[in-house]
Point group: C2
């Protein structure tokens, strides 16, 4: 695969940590929410093995926040998601699909409830702020909507608790999964959640003061020496093995939550009002004709620029791979694919063309690990 | 400046022409509307000189369309822009700032009126589709909103008319600036506008059939041999010299249309209803305290990752440069900057730090050429 440099500009925003990760050897970028997001350091595979054994600090400032506050904020936030938030509690994080009026997906943020009338939607790669502003204007809601200057540092990996308790004190180990609280470092309080875009455990530090954040960044590496800390980033191999879905890769605004396996977060029998509810009830009753599943391909390499078609022996379309990578664990290519209903049986095989050669593969359930 | 490769994925969508521009030597990419947009071929400077003398074909598929159709489509489109569209005509293109309820900018598309009840917003880099969907839901408008699979090819440069008339016939030369019509190539009708993101003249071909588009792409290079056609892309030097503004670079959702010099398109005394109208009237009455102006800096190089601060002799803030480049025409760095009111006099000078050295510059009016 030929490499193409990214042409930097203000439009592809740097983060407060960009200088630091460039000194530390970031080797590629992606763009996420109009911001630079590191995509690899040594290599996806070397980063992967390190992430599964030690601890990493990630510049994930590109996970931007949409802050919705004011009298009607709870009503607006609920209107945007099919997850029932009526019993939601301050201090908790909710993974919640955002849905449009047609019942299609707009984003899959973590919604942090800061107060009964103040919410942060920690978003994937689409401009949720304009969806919220459009809905607020149209419904004449009394809300304030903005993108606060929050630049997340994630600490991920099996040694995260050791590093974080060394920096913030033992109490942080009691923080439960998808809960957040405030912890102090050098006199500055940081909003910290037990969450993150890996399945290796860890925390996300929602840095509101960029200068304090840079200081904290440096200290995490100093304190982390004994735990073999390294810079890292959301890892393609690890996230596909764990089936952590990516908006724009695995699903997008042409897909509904049932096709993306979000049944658990689609509370159609709740009392709450949200966009697309009636449409989604119809879809549930009819049943979907395609859904996201795993694929394993007998090959050791794949480049994904756009979705790739899967065929059966009679050249009928089985589905489309949307994300894929070589997995050192399975010693083959694994991927996330939108599979047509006749092929949902996990024993089905298919053909796929990679670099002008035909390879064989099998459907499987998600996650891989 | 160190180069960082872009990590490709389905989320950063390729275009139907990506294979072709990579074979032709694209040398860097940016990301625009979640899609790959070429940023240079030989180099910004070599591309610039060629663009001003000959003709180029550009893959600008990243200029995505938001299609708004249906009974209430005209009402929704008008609600989104401060430009009075009440006298708009089918077959014409309208440069029109999109404004939120707070009177701030969301995007600056060209709005193409396809029919009284069908519009294409040819957008800059933000998800206008979700703003439109939010407004439509909130206002219960009877509209259909989608992103059609349109992949624009631009033909730009002083020899554009010669190349285009060779391919589409003489009649295309009669097309007026910011008008569109349909023209045939090999039995396929293409929507073509006299428009484009350069001041060198040219056309934009809104390709709706990707296969026909690839065929047309190849033929443009075949037919263009005699005009010294080359592949190209929106050129940083040419667009700054001509003050073609870029959403996300020169202005964003923290700026209002008066600060971005959009007075001409801000029709507050019209009868039409649009978002932020009352707010914008207040801003007009109070007057703005900063606005976009040009800057010239006595230096031969600048890298822009984020805005850079300008200071006066007493170290007061003069403003912030948002886009800048070395201009071979002016033999210095030129840029677009948000300048504070006390410094609007175009004779004002300032200091700026570039790579840890102080350089001097002057405020000037836009455009440069």
């Amino acid at each position: 695969m030929k490499n193409f440099p990214i042409a930097k500009s203000r439009r592809l925003r740097s983060t407060p940590y960009t200088d630091r990760i460039e000194r530390q050897g970031v080797s590629s970028y992606t763009v996420y929410n109009h911001m630079l997001l590191p995509a690899s350091f040594v290599s996806a595979e070397v980063d992967y093995h390190h992430l599964k054994e030690f601890v990493q600090v990630w510049d994930v400032a590109a996970e931007r926040q949409v802050e919705i506050s004011g009298k009607d904020s709870a009503q607006l936030v609920q209107l945007m998601t099919c997850r029932d938030l009526s019993k939601s509690k301050v201090g908790k994080c909710y993974y919640a699909p955002i849905i449009d009026g047609q019942g299609n997906l707009v984003n899959d943020p973590i919604i942090n409830k800061l107060a009964e009338d103040r919410w942060w939607l920690s978003i994937a790669d689409s401009d949720v702020i304009f969806f919220a502003k459009g809905l607020a204007s149209g419904n004449k809601f009394d809300v304030d909507i903005k993108e606060p200057d929050v630049n997340i540092l994630a600490v991920q990996g099996p040694l995260s608790d050791q590093l974080m308790s060394k920096v913030f004190g033992e109490k942080i180990c009691q923080l439960k999964f998808f809960n957040f609280d405030y912890f102090e470092f050098k006199g500055v309080k940081h909003f910290i959640a037990r969450s993150g875009w890996s399945k290796q455990g860890g925390f996300e530090i929602y840095v509101e003061n960029a200068e304090a954040g840079k200081d904290l960044y440096d200290y995490l590496f100093e304190a982390g020496l004994e735990f073999n800390v390294k810079p890292g980033c959301p890892n393609l191999i690890e996230r596909i093995e764990g089936a952590l879905l990516s908006y724009g890769n695995d699903f997008d605004n042409r897909d509904n939550p049932f096709e993306a396996n979000f049944e658990k977060y689609t509370n159609l029998d709740s009392e709450v009002e949200f966009l697309g509810k009636e449409r989604l009830k119809k879809i549930r009753n009819q049943g979907v004709t395609r859904k996201l599943m795993g694929v394993k391909i007998d090959h050791n390499q794949i480049d994904m620029y756009c979705e790739k078609t899967l065929f059966d022996d009679d050249n009928n379309i089985v589905g489309f791979v949307r994300s894929a990578t070589y997995s050192p664990t399975f010693k083959k290519v694994i991927g996330i694919a939108m599979i047509n209903k006749p092929y949902w049986n996990s024993k089905n095989s298919f053909k796929i063309e990679i670099n002008e050669k035909i390879h064989l593969g099998n459907i499987c359930d998600l996650p891989f690990i």
